[in-house]
Symmetry: C2
Subunit: 351 residues, 2 copies
């Protein structure tokens, strides 16, 4: 019998945001890999690609021409997962097992820049501030629509994350219901707030800043950290220090700080394996259902799949799907690695 | 305003096993795909591969020789995610945000056959019955170990599902805690059973057999169906008709029927895109904590990633990770496609 050593022994950690556990296997990072390798594109993209349906002036699948846009550009998704049509629906309560209800929604695409080749870490702070302004405008406009109660802002980056066009862009799916993950988070945030009269993430950030070991970047208004309960090898979360519940409540200084930390974090990511680092990111914030939501606290998740190199990812498969998420490196170790990485982009060094 | 048409209109469906919703976008299957394609191996595998660490007689990474096994063969995973060591641990209740506890477990690998080239659909029924016997033995042996309260049997098939060796094999991760997904399922099963004195899946199977439209295969003892709340395009579930709570309670006839339906379902899967169809599968059944668990009902999940062809998969990424699982084809449509596929393996036709 030995004493528990969280840095060495297999253990489970609890995620208080969604009330789920994750299995951590610190010793397993040493395992050799003989499985599938991802193909990564090292090709230098052109500034403008005449065949790209997101570049300024080009024609999209539905025949519409993009304007000659100069900063960010938003359009309605041509193959949206939801529609705006109002549907007549009578809830059939007899259906114990066949419970379904229509869902109204709007999907938009946000091009980050007219430049086909510029991802977030390579953009200027001012241009990232512009994207933040666009997110604020979309959150407001979509949130003001009567049937929209939740606005999900996200980005799929890299072909391994299902992104079909390298032109830097994100998406927004706005809809009438709270999506499953958001509802779980809201329940946790609300019960914490009701009990403590402070947001869960306010107290969590305080505890993390005191502990120090999972912090990747800190500035006046934001912290980027590897959550204690992270499931992806290099998962991070950007959290506002202040208990601000939505992006439209940022001060001008907060917007600038957020742009800075976004650039710093994504630069570190690219520098980790000297590759344009794939991830899915998404902002969690107050629903747009017209209620106050003092329990909500702005945060942005980054879920990157890579584990050991630009081509070897972590597979969340059999055990993870049937049982529980599992990770092979401790969050503390990942944070240490990310913390030590340079904030100067590797590409700018070779130029 | 139009009336809700579940076959046409975007909607959400409820999964009563884990209390989560899924977003269904029936119209979205038509969307063109310009993203990442998977590489699939069409190479004919040899019956024996001298470089395979799972083939009979070969040497594994740790230097141990596999026996000259003739049916199935089980060994301890050389790079296990959990360890058997007993760990001294004092719960520190002061840790609101840093909740962790050591986890004991055992991981085993189950080689399905000495043949390097034979996947489940290509094996004889008698040989599949042999695998079922092995699963029963492992469930009993591992379940009898004092610190083991749950035995997760699963298979990752295909390199796209993180499988690093094509030699047909599954895994078993046995551990002291109930994994997250199993605990959620147990909570749902238990509250249904307490209320109705029948298992949730007993009543669900009755309702599905009556509806008919999501049934893929039915025999005397089992049903293979696309759950009403399936998230993966061709997700299925094999459920026992009888409320049997664990694999060791199968009658001899049930074991044979289970072997048959496993062969039929995986044959249909291979025939769907004329490829060795990738998936993660896993058995959910009673925990091995010594309690009775009349609420449990044997079922096996199949989560296959492919969407439109042998190379185009569904990406569960940004929206799905931040918001909610989303599917592009209705479960009824998928069931119809699977139902109509032949039960004669495509490879046996070209031979
Ligand atoms: O079969 P392996 O190599 O142990 O590993 C595979 O299955 C495990 C259990 O689902 C996952 O944790 C790994 O990410 C995956 O690559
Ligand atoms: O960007 P696309 O092509 O709309 O689609 C991508 O993101 C969506 C939202 O996460 C997913 O549902 C798709 O599976 C993925 O390929």
């Amino acid at each position: 019998m030995k004493n528990f050593d969280i840095n060495e022994d297999p253990h489970r950690r609890f995620n208080p945001l969604i009330n789920e556990w994750v299995l951590v296997s610190p010793h397993r990072a040493k395992r050799p890999w003989q499985g599938q390798n991802e193909t990564i594109s090292t090709e230098q993209l052109p500034k403008y690609d005449p065949t790209c349906y997101l570049c300024p002036g080009n024609v999209r699948a539905n025949g519409v021409n993009n304007p000659a846009y100069e900063s960010s550009f938003v359009f309605e998704n041509d193959f949206a997962a939801m529609k705006q049509d109002e549907i007549i629906f009578e809830d059939d309560i007899k259906h114990t097992f066949f419970k379904a209800k229509p869902e109204q929604g709007i999907s938009r695409v946000v091009c980050f820049s007219p430049r086909h080749d510029l991802t977030l870490p390579e953009m200027e702070i001012a241009d990232i501030e512009n994207i933040i302004k666009t997110w604020q405008k979309e959150y407001t406009d979509l949130g003001n629509i009567k049937f929209i109660n939740h606005v999900q802002i996200f980005e799929n980056k890299g072909s391994v994350m299902g992104c079909s066009n390298p032109h830097p862009h994100g998406q927004i799916w706005a809809q009438s219901s709270l999506p499953t993950q958001v509802e779980k988070t809201q329940n946790s945030l609300k019960s914490y707030y009701d009990k403590n009269k402070r947001t869960l993430l306010e107290d969590y950030v305080t505890a993390e800043l005191k502990a120090g070991e999972r912090i990747v970047i800190e500035n006046d208004h934001f912290v980027a950290l590897v959550p204690f309960w992270a499931i992806w090898p290099y998962e991070t979360m950007i959290v506002s220090k202040r208990a601000v519940n939505k992006i439209t409540n940022f001060t001008a200084e907060e917007s600038k700080s957020f742009a800075k930390i976004l650039k710093q974090l994504t630069t570190k990511y690219d520098n980790l394996f000297n590759t344009s680092f794939p991830y899915s990111s998404g902002i969690h914030q107050s629903p747009t259902d017209g209620l106050d939501h003092p329990e909500w606290h702005f945060h942005m998740h980054f879920y990157p799949p890579l584990l050991r190199s630009a081509t070897v990812k972590k597979f969340m498969v059999g055990y993870e799907m049937m049982g529980e998420s599992q990770r092979d490196i401790t969050p503390e170790k990942s944070a240490e690695i990310l913390r030590q990485l340079s904030e100067v982009h590797y590409k700018s060094l070779v130029k």
